[in-house]
Symmetry: C2
Subunit: 322 residues, 2 copies
């Protein structure tokens, strides 16, 4: 009986995998990606990770229905070919679907990680029962996955959902993408950390400066901790980033009129520090009939969104093919 | 034989209607809306306009397949009830579909005018052959209609496509909607005219000032004419508005990855004055694989987009119901 599904979450830093049965994790495991070793070496690490899980759960080849994969884009989710994601050096037109299918002899479905996470919340998390969902992943970068009329919207060449690169300032900071004033350059974990390092240098007696001295650097998590401890510069930086996120969400609400905006990724773990300014901005700036209507909530699946995302990809593809 | 379709475009200023057969206009007519007289008086004007067309074309009741309507929103396109559009005073929960069906005894389909125009370009204009279309109407206000994966996307409560109210400046001008820094407050015909009046007062010897003195006021059309005649302030104002439109389109390209962006409405008639700065901004600010790919073009249906929109609404609803 093909009752088990293999779920695989390929990140630039870690690989995570799980065996699912009836939408429950039977067992899970992770290991470092070691992306710098190139795609073939990473593929070997993936197969050994999956095989370890299969052995541990006594899953036979005949028990496996399919494999679901979430992976950094750009990628073509029809063919399952990966096109040079920034976090996976050397994956130039890498035929991941084909390689997995040849190795495990079951169908494999590949989706970009933000889309997979949106599907995860839609099928198993905060998005259940909703048809129009805007899922935001806010961590070092900012991305999104869009469910409209109950279906994943991928865009013309699988590139929809680049929420981090909407423009919020005509003359803003330069973004990694080459753009100017992108949301990601104003509100990502990287942007928060960069501003905090400047403030730490300017204010040597601040909590931020102490944290920077202790760790040698600052992360958005450090800035959140300093903000919670009452550091005024840290609070200002965090509130500012959240305000820009709120302005971006205001634009999305006007453009797409979603029922629910779900925020996942590392930044979302900071809770009210992030969500209060966002909700305030939306309340103040969006048209009332839209602002009152839309829910803005944290991811329900949290750190498991990657694995549930990979599972949801198989659910989605089976739905699309039915 | 039910081969004829009645198309009705309800604007705040004028009513336009046509009899279509095989997607061609048999005859068309228009008259002032006189919206200030309230919904019942306007409805009488609508029925007499349609009856005149029916008589003129010798169309019998049994020849009419259905009625398509484009109307200012907000409205519920399932029930065909209109909810207080700003340009139709007194239309509070006005059951337009029901009234038309009772009067003409054929199905009536009602859609908001920006959605109808997007459908018109999709079925009959610049969007033919494309599946992901972002249609912008840029005139006194700015709106949009969104076709994704070959289907009209209406949003959760029929309010998607408020492109005029995406946020482009954290501390920008106050918008009619109560928001701050909305695209509409920066780039609409109204915003262009407002800025031009200020410049005319500041520069009494400019072409702008002369046009203002002659007409008693300035429209975006006057500003475009002065820009074409070489007036530097007029050029600056127009280019600035087009730049903001380009920034908004850049955001949409990142978020929705459309194949084509189609711009209609009065502002689009200014041609290169509008399109050149827009295309330059997108080329400079959007990610290259998206910017090179997307077409940004004027509406093909031009001033007929309202009537073809009403026709396309019937096409779309029949497609959705099939």
């Amino acid at each position: 009986m093909k009752t088990r599904i293999l779920a695989l979450d390929i990140g630039g830093t870690k690989l995570a995998a799980a065996v699912f049965e009836k939408n429950e994790i039977v067992t899970r495991a992770r290991k470092p990606t070691l992306a710098e070793r190139g795609p073939d070496a990473v593929f070997e690490r993936i197969t050994s990770l999956l095989e370890t899980l299969l052995a541990k759960t006594e899953t036979r080849a005949s028990d496996i229905a399919c494999i679901g994969v979430g992976c950094g884009g750009p990628l073509d989710s029809e063919t399952g070919v990966i096109y040079s994601p920034p976090n996976l050096p050397g994956w130039n037109a890498y035929p991941l679907k084909q390689k997995l299918e040849a190795r495990f002899r079951v169908p494999a479905y590949v989706e970009n990680d933000a889309n997979a996470a949106a599907l995860a919340e839609f099928h198993f998390g905060a998005g259940q029962g909703h048809r129009n969902i805007f899922y935001i992943t806010a961590s070092t970068g900012i991305g999104s996955g869009i469910i409209l009329d109950g279906r994943l919207y991928r865009g013309t060449n699988f590139s929809a959902g680049e929420f981090g690169h909407i423009v919020l300032a005509r003359n803003g900071p330069v973004c990694n993408c080459g753009g100017i004033g992108c949301l990601e350059a104003l509100a990502s974990g990287t942007a928060i950390a960069r501003r905090a390092m400047k403030e730490a240098a300017r204010l040597p007696r601040s909590l931020l400066a102490k944290a920077a001295a202790k760790n040698g650097r600052l992360s958005a998590r450090d800035v959140a901790a300093a903000a919670r401890a009452g550091d005024p510069a840290a609070r200002r930086i965090f509130c500012d980033a959240a305000t820009y996120l709120g302005l971006g969400i205001t634009s999305v609400i006007h453009l797409l009129n979603p029922e629910i905006v779900i925020i996942g990724g590392g930044l979302s773990e900071t809770g009210p520090l992030l969500f209060e300014p966002i909700r305030e901005v939306v309340r103040k700036r969006a048209q009332r009939h839209l602002a009152e209507f839309v829910k803005i909530v944290p991811s329900e699946l949290g750190k498991s969104v990657g694995l549930y995302g990979a599972l949801a990809v198989t659910e989605n593809r089976n739905g699309e093919l039915r």
